[in-house]
Every structure is written in structure tokens, then in C-alpha cells.
């Protein structure tokens, strides 16, 4: 009985050491990540960059393509979330207005109209 207990104890200690090593001391290294796991403040700044470029270019399709890099399914609602976040952390009114301008463009965007344009 004592041997079984000590054996299981040794397994448990080994398991603990293995997890400690694998999760803490030498975890799997992640490289070549994708933008969808960027931290939220980086995502917000990315959205702001898209909005800045949109204000200059006026190209909704290009803005959508850029936002798609973040892996968002609904760009309009994503942008609304980012605007909320940006308001909360004190983005300037001008930056917020740029993002709002893009959000409005996305909400009113009609793919069919874009497809007809040359």
C-alpha cells in the first residue's frame, strides 16, 4: 500500500514538474501570429489607421479589406466597439470623428453599388 501511494506521489510530482517546465519555464513559443489576437488597444489604433487612410482615400472596399485582416466578422460592429473603447481611453475628438466617419460609411455601404462602379 505504501509503495502504491509513493508511486502515485512520484507521478504527481513528475506531472507538476512537467507542467511547470512546459507552461512556465519553457512554454511553446509563438511566432508569426495573426492580427486577430492583437491586444485591444492595438486593435483600436489599427482601426484608427484604417479610418485615417479612409478619410484620405475614400475607399470603403479598401477599408473593409484592411479591417478583415483583424479577422472580424462584422466590421461595423467591430468599429463601434473600438469607438467605445477609444472614447473610454481618451482618444481625441478628431480621431473619434474619423472613426465615426468610417463607421457611418460601413453602415451605409452597399456592395452592389460598388460592384457596378468601374
Amino acid at each position: 500500500m505504501g509503495r502504491y501511494f509513493l508511486f502515485l506521489l512520484a507521478v504527481a510530482v513528475g506531472l507538476g514538474l512537467g507542467l511547470l517546465y512546459g507552461w512556465v519555464l519553457s512554454p511553446v513559443e509563438f511566432v508569426d501570429t495573426s492580427p486577430d489576437i492583437l491586444r485591444v488597444d492595438y486593435k483600436a489604433d489599427y482601426a484608427l489607421m484604417v479610418a485615417e487612410a479612409y478619410a484620405q482615400e475614400g475607399d470603403t472596399v479598401s477599408a473593409l479589406r484592411r479591417l478583415a485582416q483583424l479577422g472580424v466578422e462584422n466590421p461595423a460592429s467591430f468599429l463601434a466597439e473600438m469607438i467605445d473603447f477609444a472614447e473610454g481611453v481618451g482618444y481625441t475628438a478628431y480621431d473619434l470623428a474619423l472613426m465615426q466617419q468610417l463607421a457611418e460609411a460601413l453602415e451605409s455601404w452597399n456592395p452592389a453599388l460598388d460592384a457596378q462602379s468601374p
Partner: protein, 285 residues
């Protein structure tokens, strides 16, 4: 009678089994899940997209400090060189010339030899805010959480740079069309393949980046922009020639064309003959 001494074998076996299972769980079954990563960990293709967006945003807002802060997030050892390389790659792959120009201009400005000039203004319907926010995006390491438990960390957030500053974007000097100042044959065996080296200067003899040129030959043509190789000067661009082909060179904003450019023979001392290059200089009057 034999007596066993030392560490009991069954304990060692248990320890090894436990260790193996632990590593299997930690590295394979439930590895550390990475969330909240910074842009520096992105795959190169996404970094290129990010860099391009930074350049496009810079052209729109003219805020160099903001662009520099954003580029720093990518962790490029030399952001200016990375931008220039991407601009060349964009052109070589037949990508957007507008994007290549944006990348090249930001690269040239970061090279530190160009004073930004007045650029495009923000959309008139937007009201710039006098508020200025600190530029301190956190560079904290990504949060590692062991599945299934996720540890939430406080998110450090900040807006980047200021937005109420006037937009300043480097652009080619506005004014009279560039005129041909000189053509010079260059015999340098290191220039292989032979090049058409173009130098563009403004009226004050300062190099001008972002000037578009066109090289045409035998029913084909190629476009280039100055400033994409800042290490050779902001007003510099080059084009590789093929011996036996005659090229015509002109600037989009130029008043005249240069015809008959083709590699000519150069005779070197104590070395075989080689093809020479051409150095063509355009200046704004």
C-alpha cells in the same frame, strides 16, 4: 542477502511517467494560449500590411511622430529600410503605385534628410480637437495564459500621438517641370547589370523624393519613384538595363525625354571590358 540501496526504481518510474505526461499536456494537449499580443509578433505578411497601413495613414495625417511610434511597434531594426524594401517589392510585384509612393515617402522622411512639407489636410467636415494625448503605446509582453484558465491583465491603453497638428507630408516639390541637366556615362564594373541612375533635384539643388519616372523600350515600359533607396540619396532611382536594348527615359513631371540610352562598352585597365551605366540628372529650374 542483497539489500537495495539508493532511490527506489518505482519512484523514479513514477516521476518519469508524471514528467512525460506533464510535458505532453503543457506542450501538446493544452499549450500556453497566447492572447493580447503586440504587433511585433505578427507574421511577416501581416507586418507588411500593418506597415503599409502606417504609411497610408501617414500620408493622410502627416503626423511623423505617430507614424514612428507605430513603426516601433513592429520591431523592425531599421524601419526606414524596411519601408523602402517594401516599396520596391510593391512596385516589383505590380502593386499599387500610390502605396509604393506612400511607403517610399515615409521611408525618405525617416531617413532624416527631408523636411516634411505641407501635405493634405484632414477632411474638412471634421473638427480637429485641441486635446493632445500622450504617445505611449505599451510594449508589454503578451499575456500568456494556461488553458483553460485565462488570466486577464490590465490593459494599458493610450492613443497615439496628436491629431490636432497640421498635416505635414513630404511631397515632390510643386512648381515648374523638371528639366534635363546632364547625362554622364559611368564606367564602374561594380554596376552589374548596367543601370540608368536618375538623380532629381529641386531648384535649390535639394534631392526630391517621390518623383515618378517612366522608362520605355520596345513597346514596353516600367515606372519608378525616386527616394526608394534612401541610402543612395532621396532624389535617386535606378533602372537595370539589358545590353542591346535602347531605352527612353522621362519623368512624369518632366519637360523632356532622354532617348537612346543603352549600355555602352567600357574598357577597364587590367580587366576585361564591361557594360557602362548612365547617370541622368533632372533639375527644377
Amino acid at each position: 542477502m542483497n539489500q537495495r540501496r539508493g532511490f527506489p526504481l518505482y519512484l523514479l518510474t513514477g516521476l518519469v511517467i508524471g514528467l512525460a505526461v506533464g510535458l505532453l499536456v503543457a506542450w501538446v494537449i493544452a499549450p500556453v494560449e497566447l492572447v493580447d499580443v503586440p504587433p511585433s509578433t505578427l507574421a511577416e505578411s501581416f507586418k507588411s500590411e500593418y506597415r503599409a497601413l502606417i504609411a497610408s495613414a501617414y500620408v493622410a495625417n502627416g503626423d511623423l511622430g505617430r507614424a514612428e511610434a507605430r513603426l516601433a511597434l513592429l520591431g523592425d531594426p531599421n524601419p526606414s529600410r524596411a519601408l523602402a524594401a517594401q516599396a520596391q517589392l510593391t512596385l516589383a510585384q505590380g502593386g499599387s503605385e500610390e502605396l509604393a509612393r506612400a511607403l517610399g515617402l515615409l521611408s525618405a522622411v525617416l531617413a532624416g534628410e527631408l523636411e516634411p512639407t505641407q501635405g493634405p489636410q484632414p477632411t474638412a467636415s471634421l473638427t480637429p480637437s485641441p486635446q493632445e494625448t500622450e504617445n505611449n503605446p505599451s510594449d508589454a509582453e503578451p499575456t500568456s495564459t494556461s488553458a483553460p484558465t485565462q488570466t486577464s491583465t490590465p490593459t494599458v491603453t493610450a492613443t497615439l500621438g496628436t491629431s490636432a497638428q497640421p498635416s505635414r507630408t513630404p511631397t515632390a516639390t510643386q512648381g515648374a517641370a523638371f528639366q534635363l541637366q546632364g547625362i554622364e556615362k559611368v564606367c564602374d564594373p561594380l554596376l552589374d547589370p548596367p543601370l540608368i541612375q536618375v538623380y532629381v533635384e529641386d531648384a535649390a539643388r535639394n534631392p526630391v523624393p517621390g518623383v515618378e519616372g517612366i522608362v520605355s523600350w520596345e513597346g514596353d515600359e516600367d515606372h519608378f519613384f525616386t527616394g526608394l533607396k534612401p541610402e543612395y540619396g532621396l532624389g535617386y532611382a535606378d533602372f537595370s538595363m539589358t545590353p542591346g536594348v535602347i531605352y527612353l527615359l522621362r519623368l512624369v513631371e518632366g519637360a523632356e525625354s532622354v532617348t537612346g540610352l543603352t549600355p555602352e562598352n567600357c574598357t577597364g585597365e587590367n580587366q576585361p571590358d564591361f557594360w557602362g551605366s548612365w547617370q541622368v540628372t533632372f533639375v527644377q529650374p
